[in-house]
């Protein structure tokens, strides 16, 4: 027994020592980030490059508690930056106001919501928002179950729907854009938090239709077919791609994603440096992780807002679809 205990302790020491070797500076500068898992890939890329650029003098930590969880921590002053896949909402604005936290709202990229079908689906060439609405509105629950019911030109094949879970910003945005009211949707579709699962679902079922972020379509383009969307009946359908989203042609399913930087944290040089680094490099890095960069002008405007510490949100806590990022950045910040 004794020998065993000593052996275990020795082994633990041996394992623990390389952990110590890596340590350089205990109390260094830390930038704390938390929030949405949608924005995470971009922030991760930025943090990686930033740490390389500052040669490890500044440490960045990123959590993935979700947009809601991120704001909760942010409005308690626990994080410096909050990632959000949707604008800050009224309840969160109040919490921040109560705690005296002011923030700069910075859009960092577009997440293009892509509507996909199975590659063997040969009857669909494009979709109008009205057709999507017919498929997804609450009244469709239990009633609209075949493709033919949406458009008589399509075959009488069952309609299998896949989409984001009702707690996600993706769901909110999609329903707002398609049905006209956020969270207004039929309940009988296959929901999943993990977009990879949705990819699998659509790619294995001929009669399936689903929506998720562009990055997941781009990675699996061989297994899926993206559907061009026409914003209104008679408009030319636009397929999602880096160019069409950047130019603003792909509407209404291109949504901006944000980071919110605490004004108090901006007094720390490392946070300010990081935020500026983020905006300066978001264009290249977001494209690397298959998101769509904002137009260059938008990044310049955002950088100006950051330097001027323009606090408040352009949305006022109310969700909106189809706002151009430039217009958003020009708006007065509401608190």
């Amino acid at each position: 027994m004794r020998k065993l205990m000593i052996g275990v302790l020795l082994a633990a020491t041996v394992i623990a020592s390389p952990i110590g070797v890596q340590q350089v500076n205990a109390a260094g500068a830390v930038v704390k980030i938390d929030g949405s898992s949608t924005v995470y890939p971009i922030t991760e890329a930025v943090a990686e490059e930033f740490q390389a650029a500052t040669r490890g003098k500044v440490r960045v930590t990123i959590g993935v508690s979700g947009t809601g969880g991120g704001f909760k921590k942010f409005c308690r002053g626990e994080t410096d930056i909050s990632e959000a896949s949707r604008p800050i909402m009224k309840k969160e604005m109040e919490a921040c106001k109560k705690a005296g936290i002011q923030y700069v709202e910075l859009p960092v990229a577009y997440d293009a919501l892509t509507v996909v079908v199975n590659p063997q689906n040969n009857w669909i060439k494009s979709l109008t928002v009205d057709e999507l609405k017919k498929m997804w509105e609450p009244a469709a629950q239990g009633k609209v179950t075949t493709w033919k019911q949406v458009n008589p030109a399509w075959p009488d094949v069952p309609l299998k729907l896949f989409g984001a879970g009702a707690d996600s910003g993706t769901f909110d945005y999609f329903t707002e854009a398609v049905v006209g009211k956020a969270k207004s949707s039929r309940g009988d579709y296959t929901a999943s938090e993990d977009d990879n699962v949705l990819v699998q679902g659509v790619s294995m079922d001929k009669s399936a239709l689903g929506f998720f972020g562009y990055a997941y379509y781009a990675e699996n383009a061989k297994k899926l077919k993206a559907v061009p969307i026409a914003a209104k009946a008679g408009a030319t359908p636009v397929a999602p791609s880096i160019d069409t989203v950047k130019s603003g042609a792909y509407q209404p399913l291109a949504r901006p994603i944000f980071i919110y930087v605490s004004a108090k944290s901006l007094e720390k040089p490392e946070v300010r440096e990081f935020a500026e680094f983020y905006l300066k490099n978001a264009a290249t890095l977001s494209e690397e992780v298959k998101y769509v960069p904002l137009p260059d002008k938008a990044y310049v405007m955002a950088l100006d807002n950051l330097k001027a510490k323009k606090t408040g949100t352009g949305f006022g806590g109310i969700p909106e679809v189809g706002v151009s990022v430039e217009d958003l950045l020009k708006r007065e910040g509401k608190h």
Binding site: S36, V64, S65, G66, T67, G68, G69, F71, K72, A84, S85, R86, M89, K91, E92, A95, P138, G165, A166, D167, S168, G169, F171, D172, T175, K181, A182, K183, S184, S185, G187, D188, Y189, T190, A191, S192, E193, D194, V197, Q200, G201, M204, D205
Partner: protein, 303 residues
Amino acid sequence: MSNGKSHLSHSPMRLAKERLVEAILFLAAFASVAITVAIVGILLYESLGFFRHVSIVEFLTDTQWTPLFDDAHYGILPLAAGTLVTTGVALAVAIPLGTIIAIYLSEFAPHKMREIIKPFLELLGAVPTVVYGYFALIFVTPLLQKIMPDLSGFNMLSAGLVMGIMIIPYVSSVSEDAMRAVPMHMREGSYAMGATRFQTSVRVVTPAAFSGIAAAYILGISRAVGETMVVAIAAGMQPNLTWDPTQPAATITAYIVQVSLGDLPHGSIGYQTIFAAGLTLMLITLIFNIGGYLLTKRFREVY
């Protein structure tokens, strides 16, 4: 002995030490009560905010759970049904298999086999639940779809089966420990009467180890009811009031995870629903546990 009181047995130091030890142990036991009080406290506190908006009657009787949708319904029945069905499937797998394995390992298997197999079975409980979830979705469901072609991609059956396999070590290891602790002389008495190993294990050992086996079952049930990730991944996230395991459904636990890690603002009524759901779950577990406890009290053997 020189005087009446020996300095060994009644020294105040000794008594004080005993009292101290007892006090420390009591605090430890009390910690478990404190934890429950804290959990129930949190759940109740936040649920109160929820129940100000939604009546309890609606909560218990509405057949739809769509709190995050625009047209919000707050009936807990679909989630409760999801929890009960997946637990039922899991237990249908874990209890028979776990008990048989326990009996086999304790009464039939040679010593070496037991010592090698038992850790491997316990490893079943060590696989991260996310891995089990994907295993159910990507491996088990397609397999089942070959037998049952109209099984939907998300269903409670795969999730329940995989959950059952995950819980086997809970049932088998603790039961086996209990069976092994039955004194040999009871078995020897049975063998002396000409009983086979099977008869001995079923008629002598199992009843004698009953309290331990029941504890193992209750542990397994509690674990099944509280499991989150396997069902979240493999059973789908759409609340669905059905008792048919081939359908997708959401459990109370999957719903709680979905919302607490999602994009909802904390403090909104959608967020508060998770506390009401959690409270319901604790009540369901409590009912199972009280039932199990009463049953064990009646049938426990003392030897």
